[in-house]
């Protein structure tokens, strides 16, 4: 599998936040501030890359029947590593301590974040170590970008700032910092993403059809197989 395909897949086609809709709990809870979203994204990406690598290494060793408990154990180990790392860094920097506090219970809950188990099952257990690491990196980045984007929108409307930087003066709609605002903003953003994605797909299909008839036949065949 080409690196470019893996990248497009992780960042756009199967974007965890807007397309796959996985790991919802952390998306909703940590998108109240852009910096929290970014912090959670980095933590999840770290666990994702590490667990993908280890699971890919173990793919011939682990018996098929007990693979899920084994995956969970690997993921839980790396989550514990992140927990200890954040505890250590919090003592050194107050900025990290703040993000760590915001993550709270959602930090140990990375274990049950469906994105990580989904990538282990769908990708790492079938591909080489290198490819799995790249896949983990790009899926993690897709998650981080999506979560930060949602965080920026909610922080801007809810607190009038972006990354803690006041830009709207005193203007704020506190509703967007609250749970109800999280649900509604996220729902509308997915709707927007779907519309944009469909438009781009249509444009691409049109351009290919114009370029060559045979190519367009291939595309529709591929589409039928993928869909």
């Amino acid at each position: 599998m080409k690196t470019r395909d893996v990248a497009v897949n992780g960042l756009i086609k199967e974007n965890a936040v807007f397309r796959m809709l996985l790991g919802l709990c952390s998306i909703l809870a940590l998108s109240n501030k852009a910096i929290n979203g970014l912090g959670m994204g980095v933590a999840v990406t770290f666990v994702l890359v590490c667990s993908n690598v280890v699971i890919s290494l173990l793919k011939r060793v682990v018996p098929n029947k007990v693979r899920i408990p084994c995956y969970v154990l690997v993921i839980a180990t790396f989550v514990t590593v992140v927990e200890l790392l954040i505890k250590y860094l919090s003592a050194k920097s107050s900025a990290i301590a703040q993000i760590g506090d915001a993550m709270g219970v959602f930090l140990p809950l990375i274990v049950v974040n469906c994105i990580i188990l989904a990538r282990a099952e769908a990708f790492a257990s079938k591909n080489t170590v290198g490819a799995s690491a790249i896949d983990g990196l790009f899926v993690g980045m897709g998650y981080t970008i999506g979560l930060t984007l949602l965080g920026i929108v909610r922080e801007l409307l809810g607190s009038g700032s972006i990354f803690g930087l006041q830009i709207l003066g005193g203007f704020r709609i506190t509703f967007f910092s609250q749970p109800a605002g999280a649900f509604i903003t996220y729902g509308l953003l997915i709707c927007l993403f779907n519309i944009t994605y469909e438009k781009i797909e249509q444009n691409n299909a049109n351009r290919k059809r114009k370029a060559s008839v045979t190519l367009s036949n291939q595309v529709t065949e591929e589409g039928a197989v993928n869909g």
């Binding site: 919802l24 408990p69 969970v72 989550v79 140990p108 049950v112 999280a182 509604i184 996220y186 779907n194």
Partner: protein, 196 residues
């Protein structure tokens, strides 16, 4: 004890509702809320596992603190929960096949339900939980709160399915917006004050 009981009840069901106030257990909340029947089944299964998980993980953590290995709690908890789910599935299959057919399909999904790991972790942090009995009650009420939320959403989605709707909003986005309206309604409960 009485006021603690009421506080746990109100927090679990309304004020700190796991789904609409804390964002825990979102995957089954959105994935299994198409029909009221399946929502009720999932709710009962989750409540059951939450109670048993609270009962086991709380004393286990005390033991781990004594041994000085509390940093392993995430790994231990997820293993305990996975085992509980596995054992429950076998036991229910043996004892009551009818309950198994109603609940069976949802049980394996609960292992990766963050609400269960959430209750085990939050039991250690909540100031309302002071011992095994309160941990048990917290598990029960949090589970009932989850059931309440998922059944309400399923009811709304069943009705909405019959309405014409923009295709981009259909399915997930509109469920999210409905959940937002529910969260708004639940804010009312935060005005309840206990004691002084």
């Amino acid at each position: 004890m009485d006021s603690a009981f009421v506080a746990l009840l109100l927090t679990g069901l309304f004020v700190g509702n796991y789904v609409v106030a804390r964002f825990l257990g979102m995957c089954p909340f959105l994935g299994l809320s198409k029909k009221v029947d399946s929502a009720v089944g999932m709710g009962i299964a989750v409540t059951f596992v939450m109670v048993v998980a609270s009962l086991l993980t709380y004393p286990l953590y005390q033991l781990m603190v004594k041994l000085g290995i509390e940093y392993l709690r995430t790994i231990v908890f997820i293993f305990v929960i996975a085992s509980i789910v596995q054992v429950l599935e076998t036991v229910i299959k043996k004892i009551s096949p009818s309950l198994y057919s109603a609940m069976g399909v949802y049980l394996p999904l609960i292992t990766t339900n963050c609400a269960v790991l959430g209750v085990a972790t939050l039991n250690l942090e909540s100031e309302l939980v002071t011992g095994l009995a309160t941990a048990l009650l917290n598990g029960l009420f949090s589970g009932l709160g989850f059931t309440l939320a998922i059944v309400i959403l399923a009811g709304m989605r069943e009705k909405l399915d019959k309405q014409p709707l923009n295709k981009h909003l259909k399915g997930f986005p509109i469920s999210m917006i409905l959940a937002g309206f529910m969260a708004m309604a639940f804010v009312v409960f935060t005005y309840i004050k206990l004691g002084e």
